[in-house]
Amino acid sequence: MKDGYKEGTIYSNDEISPNIFEVILEGDFHGIPGQFYMIRGWEALDPFLARPISIADIDSGKLKLLYELKGRGTHIISKLKKGDKLSLLGPLGNGFDLKEEGRIAIITGGIGIAPMLYLAKNLPDEVDIYSGFRSNAYFLDQIRPYVKSVNIATEDGTTGHKGFVTELFEPSKYDLVYTCGPTPMMEVVIEMCKGIVPVYASMESRMACGIGVCLGCTIETTRGMERVCKEGPVFKGEEVVI
């Protein structure tokens, strides 16, 4: 049997960059890179739904999550302090297929960087990461030890290349690509890689249940409608109908 919601105790919850928070939860968490948890930081019925958040890292059972302040849910979670509790359901979803060899690129946009520390840790070292941000870069310090190169693009030029991250990256140099970020960015990545290199994309969707029963999160794939929370969130680029 899978676990239902269980409590995690907050060990730390810090704003590591404007509007970007990192929370670490004590417990006995498990999961593979690319999987996610549904999170509730409230007991009442408003907000009603839990929020899907990727595993940013798991280290001796402690779960790290990286989240961006968006709306009411993340706002409430950002106010929690050490010792407070979160409810978590997971790990959910399929996670990334881990490849053991070859040249690998990770392409992220914004908070899409969240699952990449745990991914990078579980890949061989021959990984280049390309990360785009609107303005400030974040979380890359933690990823740096596990990759060969870090390449940054910011829309306003604050750090690294001024422009889109997709302008930095050459598909033909790689044997495999992992990507996570806003759908339009991932669509560009998928297009760029088409016929050149396989891509695994962690897709976005609004979720109600997170466990495959509401059909709220489905996307169109070459196999028909599939659930981001169940068949995904990671899909092969060529399966995603753009």
């Binding site: 239902g4 739904l49 109600a208 466990i211 029963v213 509401c214």
Partner: protein, 298 residues
């Protein structure tokens, strides 16, 4: 103790998983044994497989959510072939929720279900998220009347008709459905509702409106169940915003024979077990031997 009987079929307890919020039971069976439930309603089936709606399908609202899934489902035959065998293996009562875009679709669907082991057909004349048919059948009594009558002629299964809270007059609608042959009534399906993405200046949902469910609707749905219980004599399944045992007990006191839990399943996979346990506790504490003692007591 918590046993209830619906049209001769015994349910272990009055807690049924509502259509569209429980898949076909498989995912939940990974979290707990779904044998523990009084019953399970299938996702809304249509005669043919359907991909459902495009665009955003889920939108959270205060103490609720809106959905526009649009009856994505494997079709009646797909259900019978791929989903029913699993459900049959379970010790719980099965409701096949059947939607349709036209009278013929309903009738063909019923005929296919007639020869299966499902315990009940739940005739869904109340889905707000399909372009044709669906809820359109559940607004005015005369349209409902013809669908229910024809469906009843064809159905070999006990037939529960699932009402829309958008019906013009819920009492007349329930009465009409029962007069037309409904063996039971379930209510409510979702409320027709609107959300607007003010930054993009357009409705959130491609179909403009979508269906509202969750605790937010409970007080209205409970009123409707109460009103319907005053005019029909068939079993009523109360639905709408149930997340706690107390909610379920309110429905029973308002006249429901059993209840269905919908959106609540999304916020806690085993919420139905909590509700069942809570009902048992309440009965013990209050010295209630059978739910019949409190049904419709208010």
């Amino acid at each position: 103790m918590t046993k209830v009987k619906i049209l001769g079929v015994e349910l272990k307890n009055p807690v049924i998983a509502a259509s569209g919020t429980f898949g076909f039971g498989k995912e939940f069976d990974e979290f707990f044994s779904i044998d523990k439930l009084g019953g399970i309603c299938s996702k809304g089936l249509t005669l043919n497989k359907s991909n459902g709606n495009k665009g955003i399908r889920i939108y959270e609202t205060p103490a609720g959510l809106m959905n526009s899934i649009g009856l994505q489902n494997p079709g009646v035959e797909g259900f019978i072939r791929d989903e029913l065998p699993f459900l049959q293996g379970k010790d719980t009562v099965i409701f096949a929720n059947l939607g349709g875009h036209s009278l013929d679709e309903y009738l063909e669907g019923i005929e296919l279900l007639n020869d299966t082991s499902v315990d009940f057909i739940e005739l869904n004349i109340s889905c707000p998220n399909v372009k044709e048919g669906g809820m359109a059948f559940g607004i005015k009594c005369n349209t409902a009347e013809s669908v229910v009558k024809e469906a009843k002629k064809v159905s070999k299964k006990p037939m529960i008709v699932k009402l829309s809270p958008n019906a013009e007059n819920i009492q007349e609608m329930a009465y009409t459905c029962v007069e037309s042959g409904a063996d039971g009534i379930s209510l409510v399906n979702t409320f027709n509702a609107l959300a607007i993405d003010i930054y993009n200046r357009r409705p959130v949902f491609n179909n403009i409106t979508a269906g509202l469910s969750g605790p937010c609707i409970k007080p209205i749905a409970l009123r409707m169940v109460y009103e319907v219980s005053k005019v029909v004599d068939v079993p009523i399944l109360g639905i709408g915003g149930i997340t706690r045992a107390e909610d379920a007990i309110e429905y029973i006191m308002a006249g429901a024979t059993a209840v269905q839990v919908g959106s609540g399943n999304f916020i806690k996979p085993d919420i139905t077990l909590d509700i069942i346990a809570g009902i048992e506790e309440f009965m013990e504490r209050e010295g209630i031997k059978s739910l019949e003692e409190i049904r419709g007591i208010i």
